[in-house]
Amino acid sequence: MSEAIAIQRPAAVALPWRLLRLLPGVALLFSIGYAGKLGEALLRDYGKAHHLALPNIEYVLWAIVFGMVIANTVGVPQIFRPGVATYDFWLKAGIVLLGARFLLGDVLKLGSVSLTLVAIELAVAIAIMTLLGRWFRLKPKLTSLLAVGSSICGVSAIIAAKGAIEADDDDATFAIAAILALGAFGLFAYPALGHLLHMSDHAFGVWAGLAVDNTAEAAAAGAIYSDAAGKVAVLTKSTRNAMIGFVVLGYAIYWASRGQAKEVEGKAAFLWQKFPKFVLGFLFVSLLATFQVFDKTQVASLANLSRWAFLLTFAGVGLKTDFREIKRQGVRPFVVGALAELTITVVTLGLVLAASAIFSF
């Protein structure tokens, strides 16, 4: 009985307190995201009123830039940090809700094309990163982390792999810094390149989903290009995320065979543990939409809820991009990462252009 009280009491006190601690940061995410929305509307209205052909700068870009300015000038005060860290939660909830905009048939069609491209991208990314890691004489486990980060889904894949291959904290920090720096660069570079190449929304979405490492940045890069491209980017990136368990398991087995990590017991359980569960949520909502559980107004409401969730995510992407922190991590892993990303960018672009010619998208 005393044990029950000892466990219950802290939980009862802690949960409301923990939720309360999130409020300032979530309010900051909302304010920055909403300021992004206002920025887009103001520029559009100003252009209309003065008969100027101003470019349409999406709210996504405004929100990210506002966040980056705050993070790299005044910084994010401690009181906001727990709430700002929820941006990943909003991203995943937004992806589940996005399922309402996809019929399962489209998911399977797009998913099967994406899956083939993802398989090629994974093989190319891992091979390139391993070669570059050897040439630049990076520590082998750091190379493994960079390979996992660049081939699948950035930070979460690195964290998952770090535990499985028993890498050092320093290696994980280096790899995360490199992936984040490259993600920040990709946010601006990919949409600019896409416009330069006159890519269709669909083709650009697949490319962003294949080439941009972090899910939040992939969704943002797609949404900066267009709403339709953002939708496709999220689906392609989710297909890539679903592969996380297999790649991390592969590395865990490799390092265990060299006696430098624990043996993996229960491989099926390992795969299930690493599988991104929000993909199941996305498929479930998509299944409901396929069976016409929602009417048109409800689909619109769910799509808008998804947009609001992404709005908070994009503000968080800006706020977590601290260039001073990235600079402190040193330049070598960044150079290796950048070279690998450049190659992956070119290879995935070739893949997407070939696939869009074959499948007409």
């Binding site: 466990i7 991203l91 909830a93 809700l97 309402a100 569960k277 929000f278 769910l302 808008n304 947009r307």
Partner: protein, 37 residues
């Protein structure tokens, strides 16, 4: 109660995101909650 606490603690961020999104789906479906943009 201990079991409930343990289950809640074992839920990952992914699961919380799925639960929150499905709760929103239920609200939109059952009380016709309309969300604008």
């Amino acid at each position: 109660m201990i079991m409930e606490t343990t289950v809640l603690k074992r839920l990952t961020l992914d699961w919380w995101a799925v639960i929150a999104a499905l709760a929103a789906v239920v609200l939109v479906k059952s009380i016709h909650l309309t969300v604008g943009w």
